[in-house]
């Protein structure tokens, strides 16, 4: 899929001036509340009309102010899942799910319907009235409804934001499955970094104050704490890709292969071995050592080579860029330690990371999402 837009839109005192061009299948739209992410999504969906510019989806102009093109929402063939489920209260779950079929170019088959119902685990809800659904169930039905309209692209507008923590954890895996089990291009809007890293860990467009301030690989984005908002100081770091090779229930650990090195993380839910997963390592959690202490609790000791060093934006620390088995890993250390250890690019060091620091940062990476 490809998304190419350059639009300006004024809403009262707020001005959205966004430029974005990407061929990625999954795009994360990240930014704080009120940054303009949802407005941008509404522009893509045709629910808001820009003052000027163009929006091109898969090479098709759906909006172009110069040529007076403005395809109405119902002909853009985009499935949208909103923050609120927005189910039709006068229809039961089945009729909500099949609503889009009336208008789809190619009607979803019975098998397709069954597949989506199974994927979202909503088979038991089919005859229910929408008022009888929990928030998480309703949102799953909303996802199914969007999928069954056979869209060319799926737009997810903070689909988890209105749910409490437990419901969020319930729905999140289903959204993850969208990436694994469909080929559908997805734009995923969120203001939560953990959601972004988990669901859109390849490509992100960061929006702030009505502008796209970053667009590129999620891993590069994660290395820029100044873009991460309030949590940036703590959350900035790197995404490591590793392959689970063993789950040691006794120790409560899973062992991941990172090249020929080993990474130990608290045990993962699924018992799959082989498929690569993503581990978010915060730069603050990485300790650098010349010599590995003999008797140490931290399990992860990765042989690394320093590839670059820069002072952090606040001047308090030094960002050390490392190469671990061909992958990038960032560590943030004090301005004192760097010269004290006489660290320099090209040096070999050991990066030490506590396994428990990776407790909630190791994600089953399913498919492309």
């Amino acid at each position: 899929m490809s998304l190419d837009l350059d639009i300006s839109l004024r809403q009262g005192a707020f001005k959205l001036q966004a430029t974005l061009a990407s061929d990625e299948r999954v795009i994360g739209l990240f930014g704080p509340s009120g940054a303009g992410k949802s407005s941008l999504l509404r522009v893509i969906a045709g629910l808001a009309r820009p003052d000027a510019g163009h929006v091109r989806i898969n090479g098709r102009d759906v909006f172009d102010s110069r040529h007076a093109v403005n395809t109405p929402t119902h002909r853009r063939r985009l499935g949208v899942v909103f923050q609120q489920p927005r189910l039709f209260a006068h229809l039961n779950v089945t009729h909500n799910l099949t609503y889009g079929r009336w208008f789809a170019r190619k009607r979803a088959s019975r098998a397709r319907f069954d597949h989506v119902v199974e994927m979202l685990d909503i088979g038991a809800l089919l005859t229910r009235r929408t008022a009888a659904l929990s928030g998480g169930e309703a949102q799953r039905v909303a996802i199914g409804r969007a999928l069954l309209s056979e869209p060319d692209m799926l737009l997810l507008d903070e689909p988890l934001a209105a749910l409490d923590v437990a419901r969020r954890a319930e729905v999140l895996p289903y959204i993850e499955r969208l990436g694994a089990e469909t080929e559908l291009p997805i734009v995923f809007v969120t203001h939560q970094l953990d959601e972004l890293l988990r669901l859109a860990n390849r490509y992100v467009a960061a929006v702030d104050d009505g502008r796209v301030v970053f667009a590129g690989p999620t891993a590069d984005f994660l290395a820029r704490p100044e873009l991460l908002g309030d949590t940036g100081y703590h959350e900035a770091g790197t995404l490591l890709r590793a392959r689970p090779i063993a789950h040691q229930a006794v120790d409560g650990l899973s062992v991941l292969a990172l090249g020929d090195q080993r990474l130990y993380v608290p045990q993962l839910d699924a018992n799959n071995t082989g498929d690569e997963i993503t581990v978010h390592v915060r730069a603050l959690d990485v300790i650098l050592a010349r010599e590995v202490p003999a008797d140490m609790s931290a399990l992860n000791r990765l042989a690394a080579r320093i590839t670059g060093m820069t002072e952090t934006a606040d001047g308090q620390g030094v960002e050390v860029r490392l190469d671990v088995a061909g992958q990038r890993l960032d560590a943030r250390i004090t301005r004192f330690s760097a010269p004290a250890m006489r660290l320099a690019p090209g040096d070999t060091v050991t990066a030490i990371i506590k396994s428990l620091a990776l407790a909630e940062q190791a994600w089953q990476r399913l498919g492309g999402l």
Binding site: R77, F88, Y99, A104
Partner: protein
């Protein structure tokens, strides 16, 4: 029970009130939609116009109708000459008077139910491929149904009971424009007509109550499906 004259009165009343609500419903939906969703500055003016029959003395409304739609009226003359449509002193005139008097009562609940609909559902329907007309037919209208129903019943009852505007505009012609309230009034005017009036009074109460009960029953069924 009822004699032929009384039966005729009841039949005529149902025809007049039924015609009144049937013809005003589409317009009431359009006006309610406009009032609920428009941001136009004409909204206030339309709102005031719609409510006018509620606050004007019905006789004034009837008189204005006569002036505008009478045989020699501004529009009435043209209508009679070119289209053969006559309102004044005709049962259609009684229906028109009932429709106008019932209009504000029909618009209000429809408007309220339209305002209560989350515009998000309509946007969702559009993203699922529904063109605006389909959104309206498959989402907006079904969700507004309880309000539409309430409006229908109120307007029907109002049309059924319409007196002042009807007698001014359509007169009190037996078999043509003598609806229930006019008939009751007429019976009371003649000595010995009280018992016939009383029978018609019972009929009015029965018809109005049945309409209310029926509407409530349907509304409950709709609500049970939606909540």
């Amino acid at each position: 029970m009822l004699d032929a004259t009384q039966l005729e009165v009841v039949q005529l009343s149902l025809k007049v009130a039924g015609t009144a609500v049937a013809f005003s419903l589409p317009l009431a939906l359009a006006v309610a939609w406009f009032l609920a969703r428009s941001t136009s500055r004409w909204r206030m003016i339309v709102d005031a116009l719609v409510h006018l029959p509620l606050v004007l003395p019905p006789v004034v409304t009837g008189y204005l109708l006569l002036v505008v739609l009478g045989r020699r009226g501004l529009i009435g003359g043209w209508l009679a000459e070119h289209l053969g449509i006559v309102f004044a002193f005709h049962w259609t005139g009684a229906a028109l008077a009932g429709a106008i008097m019932g209009f504000p009562l029909m618009v209000r609940p429809i408007r309220l139910s339209l305002e209560a609909i989350d515009a998000g559902s309509e946007a969702a329907a559009a993203t699922l491929g529904a063109a605006p007309v389909m959104v309206w037919l498959t989402v907006t209208l079904p969700l507004a149904l309880p309000g539409v129903l309430a409006g229908l019943v109120l307007a029907f009852a109002r049309a059924l009971g319409e007196f002042g505007a009807t007698i001014t505009f359509a007169a009190n012609i037996p078999g043509e424009t003598r609806t229930l309230p006019l008939a009751i009034y007429s019976f009371i005017q003649v000595p010995g007509g009280e018992s016939q009036a009383a029978q018609l009074i019972v009929v009015s109460i029965a018809v109005s109550l049945s309409a209310l009960v029926l509407a409530e029953w349907v509304a409950r069924r709709i609500r049970r499906r939606q909540t």
